[in-house]
């Protein structure tokens, strides 16, 4: 391929900014300078779809109403483990207003030796069994309640530690495979190895397997920290539940989906119904949150399609809040044993990690790779086990694995710092080689006032104050399945199209910014049409891949379209198009100031009705670490927490968080702040509040609602300040990356470290509740 050499900004402005030379494809645009010198990139740009959101006009999947549409309701298992002997749907079918009933059959042959029946074995409360389509949602709900299911019940287990015992009820007799949207990103879990309910371990990742010699490492150590940490199961609880509206006629299956991956929903539906992908269209214009759990069509997508097929009418099927909690994903819990060794000067000599967690009937309960890669350490090994239980399957949840792993690792590092008599920040300066986290520590500490920190437990009075810090890393993933079409219409109008969806992060807005910057237009001049699989394929909104994957081809396609437009203007002005450029809504001659015309006038020179350019993500400049798109560099963060702990009541209040982050070239400061706020608040929630509570006697979730599934509301929100560090590395034409996962990883660890600093007693388990604080205090007094 023809390439050329191009200089790119490299490093961190205000710290070590320099230049790097890269060999890039000859047709790609020149490097953008640093954000200071750009018009709309890196600025505070208003979200382009905010007007629809604040006026109630935004149409989400749950809001769709099609002519003749029926409403569907699924019915679900009410016992945790059973063979279904029969299902009686006669009463439901006879209810006035019911149009169709569809049962999930045992077509896959689940292989369980006890099950010879027509239906899959029940493995958890809330497992879908069938669905009903009716004239109204009320009728569908009533009909669902009339379905009689007869079970032959089996022993079950919902508790992680109970499931690990050798005589525990067995959840699956057979090897199982990791579900498509489950668990850790980029890591496969082996469900065929192991004994009883304990499967695995997973010992290696895309960062390699074990390294060095742990025995030697711990022999060399002067100081050892050895602890066990516990984290809970929490559910995603997006405000809009999972669901679809399916409109299926002879030509096309149209699926309106609340999804973070239109392309994968399209692929799944085509696969299930044996349709060509060209006959399935998935549309997601607005969606009400996903956080990792909405990458597939689940069982509700095929259910709605089956009901649509049976009735010949469009079918609306959105889950209710309880179904959402029970069956549509959660972050697995963990019991993590961690042993770290260091020399007197702090140099790490060994890290050993062993974890058990349950993703219910799914796999993917690892604790990520943060212990493997965050700090330099020559000797490392991990064993991560999946434990099967009779509970709903886990799913990727904002920074899967790493959030659990950071809670353990970053507390262990804090404890090590104390044993070495070093300040936790100074200690991290010693063992963390990341340049960007160094800057984040400096700038974050200054804004936070880290120098106020006093020794652990020295705070006086009933309400004790504490300060803590936690760090994180997240890989830079790039999806090569990232394509866009950019159109310039004759007479004005610029449009961008892709199947990529905006899950609330502001993808629509950053795409408009990239196009506007390249064409010298205003963001409001750009029309963004995304979330439709009729357009070029875009990535799923997960793993923080979207920005890094889709913005470079967006810029490249725009650049191609611009070149074509400039050629037409150059022809008119009898000059070379390389003499021309665009800014402030005008095309101008770089040396002859008399020559200029508006963008709109320029588009009138088109001989056809439009310029249309499609571009796809190319390899990173300089290539990838792994050929499938693990990029160089990482997305690091340092978060600081200030807490108040009432030692009489045990109540912990997070007063303030300072979150220092990097994401390559920041594109939209306002939206980045919003995402960081969200990650931090979810981290506060993980540290102090939310917890899926299962009843061991019945296998039911006890708090499958909003009022008892505790998450922070306005009264629990701390003051949050953000530091966004620009970091240039010249890896693509935008050099920009996402921030979704990083925002969420370090918070719980920072809070736990701050709680320790306040009361002088360390808590190894989340959520940290008033009762756990009081228990910890009573054990030392």
């Amino acid at each position: 391929m023809d390439t050329r050499k191009e200089k790119f900004p490299y490093g961190i402005p205000g710290h070590n900014l320099s230049e790097v030379e890269r060999e890039i494809p000859v047709e790609e645009p020149s490097a953008w300078p640093v954000n200071d010198k750009l018009k709309v990139i890196g600025k505070r740009i208003k979200r382009i779809d905010a007007l629809e959101k604040v006026t109630g006009k935004a149409i989400y999947t749950s809001d769709i109403k099609l002519p003749g549409m029926l409403y569907a309701k699924m019915f679900r298992a009410k016992v945790p483990h059973a063979v279904i002997t029969s299902i009686d749907t006669s009463k439901a079918e006879n209810l006035a207003g019911v149009h169709a009933v569809h049962l999930i059959k045992n077509t896959k042959k689940d292989g369980e030796k006890d099950n010879k029946g027509k239906y899959p074995m029940v493995k958890y409360v809330g497992q879908p069994l069938g669905g009903i389509a009716a004239e109204s949602l009320e009728i569908a709900k009533e009909a669902a309640s009339l379905v009689q299911v007869y079970y032959e019940e089996k022993p079950f287990v919902v508790d992680l530690e109970a499931a690990m015992e050798l005589n525990a009820p067995i959840v699956f007799d057979q090897p199982i495979e990791q579900q498509e949207d489950g668990g850790d990103v980029g890591e496969s879990h082996d469900g065929s190895k192991g004994e009883g309910n304990v499967r695995g371990p997973s010992t290696s990742s895309f960062f390699g397997g074990p390294r060095g010699d742990l025995d030697l490492g711990f022999q060399e150590a002067d100081v050892i920290v050895e602890r066990t940490y516990r984290t809970q199961v929490h559910t995603h609880m997006p405000l809009e539940t999972h669901g679809v509206v399916v409109d299926w006629n002879s030509d096309m299956m149209t699926v309106y989906a609340s999804t973070q991956n239109t392309a994968s929903v399209r692929n799944q539906m085509a696969n299930v119904f044996n349709l060509p992908k060209s006959r399935v269209r998935v549309i997601c214009e607005f969606m009400g949150g996903g956080f990792g759990a909405k990458h597939s069509a689940g069982s509700f997508g095929p259910m709605a399609a089956n009901l649509a097929k049976k009735t010949g009418r469009p079918v609306w099927l959105m889950l209710d809040r309880k179904e959402e909690h029970l069956a549509e994903g959660n972050r697995p819990n963990s019991i993590q044993y961690l042993k770290i060794g260091a020399k007197k000067d702090g140099t790490l000599t060994g890290i050993q990690q062993r974890s058990h967690g349950t993703a219910g009937v799914g796999l993917g309960a690892g604790v990520g790779r943060i212990a493997q890669i965050l700090y330099t350490c020559p000797n490392f090994a991990t064993e991560q086990y999946d434990v099967l239980t009779n509970a709903g399957p886990g799913a990727a949840w904002r920074a899967p694995g790493n959030v659990q792993g950071a809670f353990g690792l970053e507390q262990a590092i804090d404890e090590m710092a104390e044993k070495l008599n070093m300040d936790p920040l100074t200690y991290r300066d010693r063992i963390d080689t990341s340049e960007v986290r160094k800057v984040e520590r400096q700038r974050g500490a200054k804004l936070f006032g880290w120098s106020r920190r006093r020794p652990a437990g020295s705070s006086k009075g009933v309400v004790k104050k504490g300060l803590g810090v936690g760090q994180s890393t997240w890989p830079r993933f790039v999806s090569l399945d990232s394509s866009v079409e950019v159109k310039i219409h004759k007479g004005g109008g610029v449009e961008i199209r892709s199947s990529v969806q905006d899950i609330g992060t502001g993808t629509k807005t950053i795409l408009a910014q990239v196009v506007a910057e390249e064409l010298g237009l205003e963001v409001t001049d750009i029309t963004v049409n995304i979330g439709d699989t009729f357009f070029p394929v875009g990535p799923g909104s997960g793993g923080s891949v979207v920005t890094g994957s889709i913005t470079p081809p967006t810029r490249n396609a725009t650049f191609e379209a611009k070149k074509e437009l400039l050629k037409l203007v150059a022809k008119k002005w009898e000059t070379d198009s390389s003499e021309l450029d665009m800014s402030n809504g005008e095309v101008y001659h770089k040396r002859d100031t008399s020559k200029k015309m508006t963008f709109k006038e320029a588009t009138k020179l088109l001989r056809t009705s439009q310029i249309s350019k499609i571009a796809s993500r190319s390899d990173d400049y300089g290539g990838f670490q792994q050929p499938w798109g693990l990029a160089y560099g990482d997305l690091g963060s340092v978060q600081f927490a200030e807490v108040s702990v009432n030692t009489d009541t045990g109540l912990v209040k997070v007063d303030k968080i300072v979150a220092a982050h990097s994401c390559g070239r920041p594109l939209n400061i306002t939206q980045l702040e919003s995402q960081i706020n969200g990650g931090v608040i979810q981290g506060v929630s993980y540290a102090l509040y939310e917890n899926r509570v299962m009843d061991k006697g019945t296998g039911h979730m006890m708090n499958a609602n909003v009022d008892q599934y505790k998450v922070p509301f306005s009264m629990e929100i701390p003051e949050i300040e953000t530091v966004i560090v620009e970091e240039y590395s010249g890896r693509s034409s935008t050099d920009a990356y996402g921030i979704g996962e990083p925002a969420n990883i370090a918070t719980a660890a920072a809070i736990a470290n701050a709680v320790y600093n306040a009361i002088g007693v360390r808590l190894y388990e989340i959520p940290i509740t008033p009762s756990s604080i009081l228990k910890a205090l009573s054990e030392v007094s």
Binding site: V54, F291, K322, S674, V711, I717
Partner: protein
């Protein structure tokens, strides 16, 4: 323990509303499932259509919504939220928890915020309903809406209509709210994306502008 949703159908003689049930049920749990719902709309005192026979067939109902009287035929078990969303195509009002714990379904009845998922459509009577679609007047945004856009006070946007309803009510009825007032006004509004800081900033800015 499995929560059984009480039948929302109004029973003329002995009225057990969902809200009344939840008042009793919400406080009886323990451990980390502690803490009650804190929806502001709980203060509203509804007037039940006592003594009348309803249903089970659909019945015609007149309701004044955003300044216009609408006529609709719904089953007596229909909630106000269901009537707005499924029969009047006013889908800005969102149903998230369906039991009065998240305020996404907030609308006004005669200017007072209520949870429309907790109310029978037949209990509205002659009160005027205002939904999110009725907040901007003649295409002119309310200062709170403008500030929400300016301060990026929405992410996925699903909680936004309810948030706007709570914040507009505060700004229209409180001369000079401080941060605590804004937090108090939105204390029942759940936002899972964690947009609260921007909601607070937007509402304070809107209040300053409205003075």
């Amino acid at each position: 323990m499995e929560h059984k949703n009480p039948d929302p159908e109004p029973k003329p003689e002995k009225t057990i509303t969902r809200r009344g049930f939840l008042r009793g049920a919400g406080l009886s749990t323990a451990g980390s499932v502690l803490l009650t719902s804190n929806a502001l709309a709980f203060d509203y005192k509804e007037e039940l259509a006592v003594g009348k026979e309803f249903g089970p067939e659909p019945m015609t109902l007149k309701m004044k919504v955003n300044g216009t009287v609408k006529s609709l035929s719904v089953e007596p078990r229909t909630t106000l939220a269901g009537a707005l969303r499924d029969y009047l195509e006013l889908t800005g009002t969102k149903v998230v928890c369906d039991r009065g714990a998240c305020s996404a379904c907030t609308v006004y009845l005669d200017g007072k915020p209520v949870n429309s998922c907790m109310m029978s459509a037949f209990d509205v009577g002659d009160k005027e309903v205002t939904t999110i679609e009725g907040i901007a007047k003649d295409g002119v945004l309310h200062p709170v809406q403008e500030a929400f856009i300016e301060h990026d006070a929405s992410q996925c946007g699903y909680c936004t209509p309810g948030m706007v309803m709570s914040c507009v009510h505060l700004v229209d009825n409180h001369p000079n709210p401080n941060l605590e007032d804004v937090k108090n006004a939105t204390r029942g509004n759940l936002c899972r994306c964690g947009t609260y800081p921007k909601v607070f900033a937007a509402t304070m800015a809107a209040a300053k502008k409205s003075m």
